[in-house]
């Protein structure tokens, strides 16, 4: 596979770019919902429009009513989401939950996927238990009860948790908190008794829940995949989320960089355009290199995931870590090179910095993934 988009993918990219640039633009979505204090943090109308475009069901198999495409295509949409800071449940619903549901029973797929494809439903994924990503440790318990299960525990950083019609929850059906085995994934409907939300607004104006599971009763058919054998599916969900977040992060980085470079070409100080100063040129050129490299490894990871390759998981971590570094640099340099104006709410560059911070934590930060790269490499 060459590391660039095929003609079909390039066409999708053009479509996504135009759509997000118009419908998903910062003023039309992010600022609007933020200024209204919207409880979801995103617009359902846009979500339905994304369904009409075919985006919501990109990763859903054709037999389930979707487009049956891959992570490269999902990443194309995510990059444009990132570039426009478009708030939407695409990553949690269409990428992560859809990846989980691919392993679900016919009944479960029939129950949840049509709503996703039509843009009626929103899904969330509940993995983290604590302020930092550490999916190796899962303490939330699921005990057998009747012909179903009873879930108890708490989950944090559940993005769009309170807006979701269904939440994919990773819980423990056996073993100790740090065990590899004994993990099971459940599809928890929003009206399940005992499910509690403490929903909070994050720095980037998105909404995330602290979830409490207080003896949440579920039928046996809520299980996704095998009881006690959920690690493998969870691994796929995590890798999809990591590579997806990395793709969105590349969009954030490019959006911030493009704005900054434009600013350097307009702003005059000392009788010159500040873009003429070599000190700034070199930093901008360095930033460009880092963002391009991050973009390359994201495409690499997407292709490996789609091919089911052995080293896909390693590259997913490389991608998440590299994007974390590059996008972090892009937003920091962006604000600095904008000077005082970059600190104002009126200018968008600060919004990029906020979104980057939230994305950096989502599905593991630079440090988590660099450490994972080391462990997967055997040191």
């Amino acid at each position: 596979m060459p590391l660039y988009h095929t003609d079909d993918q390039a066409m999708l990219a053009e479509t996504a770019q135009q759509f997000m640039g118009e419908e998903g633009a910062i003023a039309k979505q992010l600022r609007k919902w933020r200024d209204q204090g919207c409880k979801d943090g995103f617009g359902h109308d846009l979500w339905k429009q994304m369904a009409e475009m075919g985006f919501t069901g990109l990763l859903v198999p054709e037999t389930d009513g979707g487009l049956g495409m891959g992570h490269v295509e999902a990443g194309i949409v995510l990059e444009e989401i990132g570039r426009n800071l478009t708030p939407s449940p695409f990553l949690t619903s269409s990428v992560m939950a859809a990846t989980a549901l691919a392993s679900a029973s016919d009944e479960a797929r029939g129950r949840w996927l049509p709503g996703l494809v039509s843009g009626e439903s929103v899904f969330a994924v509940a993995i983290d238990e604590g302020a930092k990503h550490r999916p190796e440790r899962i303490a939330t318990r699921a005990e057998r009860s009747g012909n179903g299960f009873k879930l108890s525990g708490k989950k944090d950083f559940v993005v769009h948790g309170a807006s979701a019609d269904m939440i994919v929850v990773a819980a423990r059906t056996s073993g100790a908190d740090n065990d590899e085995g004994g993990v099971t994934l459940f599809a928890v409907p929003k009206d399940a008794a005992g499910l509690g939300h403490n929903s909070v607004r994050l720095v980037d104006s998105s909404m995330a829940s602290h979830l409490t599971l207080d003896g949440v009763e579920l039928d046996g058919d809520a299980v996704i995949g095998e009881v006690d054998g959920g690690r493998e599916v969870l691994g796929r969900v995590l890798d999809a989320g990591r590579v997806g977040a990395a793709a969105e992060g590349v969009g954030v980085a490019r959006g911030a960089m493009d704005r900054t470079v434009e600013y350097l070409k307009q702003r005059k100080q000392f009788g010159r355009l500040i873009g003429e100063f070599q000190a700034l040129q070199h930093r901008a050129a360095h930033l460009y290199s880092e963002v391009e490299i991050a973009r390359a490894v994201v495409i690499k990871a997407q292709q490996l995931l789609d091919a089911g390759a052995e080293n896909a998981s390693l590259m997913a971590s490389v991608a998440k870590a590299k994007v974390g570094k590059a996008a972090g640099l892009a937003v920091k340099e962006g604000v600095q090179m904008h000077g005082g104006i970059g600190m104002t709410d009126e200018y968008d560059i600060g919004l990029y910095m906020k979104r980057d911070r939230a994305l950096a934590e989502f599905m593991g930060d630079v440090y988590y993934h660099a450490d994972r790269v080391a462990r997967l490499s055997g040191y």
Partner: protein, 394 residues
């Protein structure tokens, strides 16, 4: 796709049969590299066998057309060959400025007769070339060069001095930038090819901080350079006085080569190897730096792959090679800093047997030139800022 699978299987079998086990070890020092040329000798039989097998198959320059000594592989086939060679850790059969730099320039600018004449010799490793670009007063500002060729009808008389000419003392021929019109800065340079044994050519080695001296000062004292080597074989590439275009084109390839985009070694992680060498335990802060480095190195290897894929189909921005050169060489310097840190006192040994003559510290010092040779990092950043980001000014 099916064709490519068949080609992969065929390539795998060919490599299995032709690449000796000794040629599947990482290159450790200069001795392991075969440069070809009139006075070349092989280090051992394995090196000779591997070179000759590749030469006969066209695999010293796999993507060149067959009539010029290549194998005529398509870009996807060339990529498969590269991947399969990397998979078994095969050494390059022939290292050559002719392949990396002059060859691409000739393919692009040469006449048909000129290509048949020179490219075949390059592919077969018969001529070892050196590059005469830099002068004492013209480094980053290369176009200010002063070496002058006086037009004498059917030949030039060349006078001047070059510096940093890598392997000038070992090279058979030189590709050389010579001013042939003093009034025209950019359109007054001719790209000449001539024999280093010509009367009036002298070289003097320069000792480097690595203790090696692969480069020379090169002096031209009334060197007679003919304008032609036969029918349709001019002694210059492109047109007279238009050598700057050739020089720039060639620099693009040189940068690609120095960036290591094509090298599996430079793109690979080092954390695991260095940890093993250190007996399984490194200071946690160093381990963290190694992990961060591995992230960057693995990401850069994806960038290298993407860059080559895009170059092959003409999708890459012409100044992309500047970005690759910048990123790749800065990364390689960081790699060797970490090798030195993880190696501790062993890495300080300059000439012990166990350290293969201080290979690690010598390599570490050598890498400091990566961000200087072929254009400095600062100059690369200037080009990226102007040509890609289109920032204003000078």
């Amino acid at each position: 796709m099916a064709d490519l699978d068949a080609f992969r299987a065929e390539t795998r079998a060919w490599l299995e049969a032709n690449c000796p086990p000794e040629m599947r070890q990482p290159v450790r020092d200069d001795d392991d590299v075969y440069w070809g040329g009139r006075n070349a000798t092989f280090k051992n039989d394995a090196q000779r066998a591997w070179f000759e097998a590749c030469r006969d198959k066209g695999y010293t320059v796999p993507a060149w057309p067959k009539e010029y000594g290549g194998a005529g592989l398509t870009p996807p086939e060339a990529k498969v060959l590269r991947e399969e060679m990397a998979r078994i850790g095969a050494r390059p059969p022939l290292s050559s400025f002719g392949i990396w730099m002059l060859g691409p320039a000739l393919l692009h600018f040469g006449t048909e007769q000129q290509k048949l004449h020179f490219l075949n010799q390059i592919a077969r490793g018969e001529i070892r070339w050196c590059q005469g670009y830099s002068e004492p007063g013209s480094g980053s500002d290369l176009v200010s060069l002063q070496t002058f060729g006086e037009d004498k009808g059917d030949h030039w008389i060349v006078n001047g001095q070059k510096i940093w000419t890598s392997y000038a003392d070992k090279a058979d021929w030189i590709f050389c930038l010579v001013r042939t019109d003093k009034a025209n800065k950019y359109q007054g340079i001719t790209f000449m090819l001539f024999d280093m044994e010509s009367t009036g050519v002298a070289t003097k080695p320069i000792l480097l901080i690595s203790g090696n001296s692969p480069f020379c000062e090169t002096f031209f004292d009334d060197v007679k350079v003919p304008k032609s080597y036969g029918d349709g074989i001019p002694a210059y590439v492109g047109e007279i006085n238009r050598g700057w275009d050739v020089a720039k084109y060639l620099l693009g390839h040189e940068r690609e080569m120095i960036s290591g985009a094509d090298s599996s070694e430079r793109g690979a992680g080092i954390g695991a190897t260095l940890t093993r060498q250190a007996g399984g335990e490194l200071d946690p802060v160093l381990r963290a730096e190694l992990a961060m480095f591995d992230v960057d190195a693995l990401a850069f290897s994806a960038m290298g792959e993407k860059f080559l894929d895009e170059v092959k189909v003409g999708k890459a921005h012409p100044a992309y090679s500047n970005m690759m050169k910048y990123a790749g060489t800065e990364l390689n310097k960081r790699r060797h800093e970490l090798v030195m840190s993880a190696g501790g006192s062993t890495a300080l040994e300059w000439d012990s047997e166990e350290t293969r003559g201080g290979a690690a510290p010598r390599a570490w010092l050598r890498t400091k030139a990566n961000s200087i040779e072929g254009g400095t990092s600062e100059v690369m950043l200037n080009v990226v800022a102007k040509r890609i980001l289109e920032l204003p000014g000078a």
